[in-house]
């Protein structure tokens, strides 16, 4: 077995999860690295919540296994006797280091302080320590001094933030969030986004699901799409950066040491999204209407469905979808130089 240092935080193999006789999640192989914000997107019923519950060891898969830091949390290892012990260890580790915040806040009857202090208390903290942790967690979610309020008298956005504070009071290494902004207004959504950013900056690994693509693009280090319970490659380039300038025609978005032209829009954008099928690869610069032309080196090419996915390093890695025929014709292969062309209007800013 690999050492705990090099093992990914979570790794899933040959996983099948069933719900009421229906397979809701099928994962051949998937891993989550430490310190990364992973955002899960997909339709309702695509298996996002199931995946989060599996990672937290709240449900067991029908087949396959989930490993946390190299130790099985649940799955095939369970059958064997020694496997059961390892699974207990794995589950204990998951319980110790990670916590899931459900989509609906599900606060307990009583005060906010009771809610937020519950986790530390049940894990053996003394009353005073639990209260201190609750106060700190409430401060982090922007609700300082809310301890004595009744949980039933909070607004929707406050409830969601208290639910978040209840998890943060445990100082988790891994925070699992199921649609944290599903039931809140725009202002609360921004607040929650800031909290997640802050939590991630403090070194906590975040794995969250959402329907809000804007939020997904802005927060993710990695975007994972679930299609009917199967993880699928996201066919978009998600470029983090900032607006370097703007004129009457274009906004200039700087990512790494590359500047790309985007449709002129006012706003505090942090992400540019560029669909992989909007990129044209050529050997020589094209004489065209497209306003972005970047020179780069092909670093990787692999099949994706019936097409090929080429990764071109233009200062930032850009993924492009091309047909096999065109890949062969223009000689797209690792190490080959090429030009990436795309229209400014293909870029969406978030």
């Amino acid at each position: 077995m690999s050492s705990p240092v090099s093992a990914p935080l979570f790794s899933l193999r040959g996983l099948r999860a069933r719900f009421e006789g229906r397979t809701v999640l099928t994962v051949d192989s998937l891993s989550f690295e430490e310190g990364v914000v992973t955002v899960l997107v997909g339709e309702n019923g695509s298996g996002k919540t199931t995946l989060l519950r599996l990672l937290n060891g709240l449900i067991a898969p029908a087949e396959g296994c989930v490993e946390f830091r190299g130790k099985p949390v649940a799955g095939e290892g369970l059958a064997a006797r020694e496997g059961r012990l390892a699974a207990r260890e794995g589950l204990a580790a998951v319980r110790r280091e990670s916590v899931l915040v459900h989509q609906s806040p599900l606060l307990f009857r009583g005060s906010v302080g009771l809610n937020v202090g519950y986790g530390p208390r049940i894990r053996g903290a003394r009353r005073a320590e639990a209260a201190a942790r609750a106060a700190e967690a409430l401060r982090r979610v922007g609700l300082p001094g809310f301890e004595r309020r009744r949980a039933s008298a909070l607004s929707g956005g406050e409830e969601q933030r208290v639910a978040l504070a209840r998890a943060l009071a445990l100082s988790p290494r891994v925070l699992l969030l199921d649609e944290p902004t599903a039931n809140v207004d725009e202002e609360s959504r921004r607040g929650i986004e800031a909290i997640i950013r802050d939590v991630s900056a403090a070194g906590t690994t975040v794995i969250m699901s959402t329907h809000n693509m804007e939020l997904a693009y802005r927060l993710c280090d990695r975007l994972l799409r679930l299609d009917d319970g199967v993880p699928a490659e996201v066919e978009e380039n998600i470029l983090k950066g900032r607006i370097a300038g703007i004129d009457d025609q274009f906004a200039y978005f700087r990512t790494g040491n590359v500047v790309i032209r985007c449709p002129a829009r006012q706003g505090d954008f942090a992400v540019a999204v560029l669909p992989c099928d909007e990129l044209i690869l050529s050997r020589l610069p094209l004489d065209s209407s497209a306003r972005n032309q970047l020179k780069g080196i092909v670093t990787e090419i692999r099949p994706l469905g019936t097409l090929m996915l080429a990764v071109v390093d233009c200062g930032v890695p850009l993924k492009a979808l091309i047909t096999r025929q065109s890949a062969a014709q223009i000689g797209v292969a690792p190490g080959a130089a090429c030009v990436v062309t795309f229209k400014a209007s293909a870029v969406r800013l978030h």
Binding site: R95, V99, F108, I122, L170
Partner: protein
């Protein structure tokens, strides 16, 4: 078979049949306020039996109800339906069954508990159990199905989940306990068949009323009836108060 019914001693009273109703009521109230030892002993016996049996039923009943409410398992609906029907279990049937178990020839006859408080409490606890389980389960059905999971992810053990669920639904759990008390305090069948209505021993309010009425002596019956009604109303008032304050 000898009936263990002890003869009632009411020689100091005049026959009641000819008294006017107000006279009977008046004497009943007199019995209550004058602190007639027997009336209050019977009241105390009733309370003791009912409280004991309700508590004994709650000890397994509440956790069972919580488990049925929170777990999803095969046959759960059938179990709930059966429990709900058992809430209307005829008292004389429970009396009959327990009687056949604890009578001298029965499998538990060697314990010799027939016509003792233990037999009454056992029978009444059996009556109360389905009420506690069923009402706890239905009371907790209002909890979100994800509630146990929220507790688990925060670090609660199974026992912790159970305890917190009871705390969350404490109104429902208290109602269940009080309803079971209400059921057993007013029943006659079990108390009569298993207790035998033995004076200064197993005579409860209900068995005493039955006996006094059959003898045509109404004062003590009415006095005890008033106590019983006050108890029943009191339990109901507490129930209503709790439901309103939950």
């Amino acid at each position: 078979m000898t009936t263990p019914w002890a003869a009632s001693n009411c020689s100091r009273r005049t026959p009641c049949v000819r008294s006017r109703a107000t006279g009977v009521l008046g004497r009943a109230f007199e019995l209550l306020v004058s602190g007639d030892r027997e009336v209050w002993f019977i009241t105390w016996t009733s309370l003791r039996f009912s409280l004991s049996s309700a508590v004994i039923a709650c000890i397994p009943g509440i956790p069972l109800g919580v488990l049925i409410a929170l777990r999803r398992f095969r046959g759960r609906r059938v179990l709930l339906a059966v429990l709900t029907s058992l809430m209307a279990l005829p008292t004389v049937v429970v009396g009959l069954i327990v009687y056949s178990l604890v009578s001298r020839a029965g499998p538990l006859g060697s314990f010799g508990i027939l016509f003792t408080p233990r037999a009454v409490i056992l029978g009444q606890a059996i009556l109360a159990l389905p009420i506690v389980v069923s009402m706890t389960a239905s009371g907790l059905s209002g909890l979100d199905p994800l509630f146990p999971e929220v507790l688990t992810t925060l670090g609660a053990s199974r026992g912790g989940v159970l305890w917190m669920s009871v705390r969350q639904a404490r109104g429902a759990v208290l109602s269940a306990s009080l309803a079971s008390f209400g059921r057993v305090v007013g029943e006659v069948g079990v108390a009569m068949m298993l207790g035998g209505n033995i004076r200064w021993y197993t005579r409860t309010i209900t068995t005493a009323i039955a006996l006094e009425t059959s003898k045509g002596e109404f004062e003590q019956g009415i006095a005890l009836g008033i106590v019983l009604i006050v108890m029943a109303l009191g339990v109901n008032a507490v129930l209503h108060w709790m439901v309103r304050h939950e």
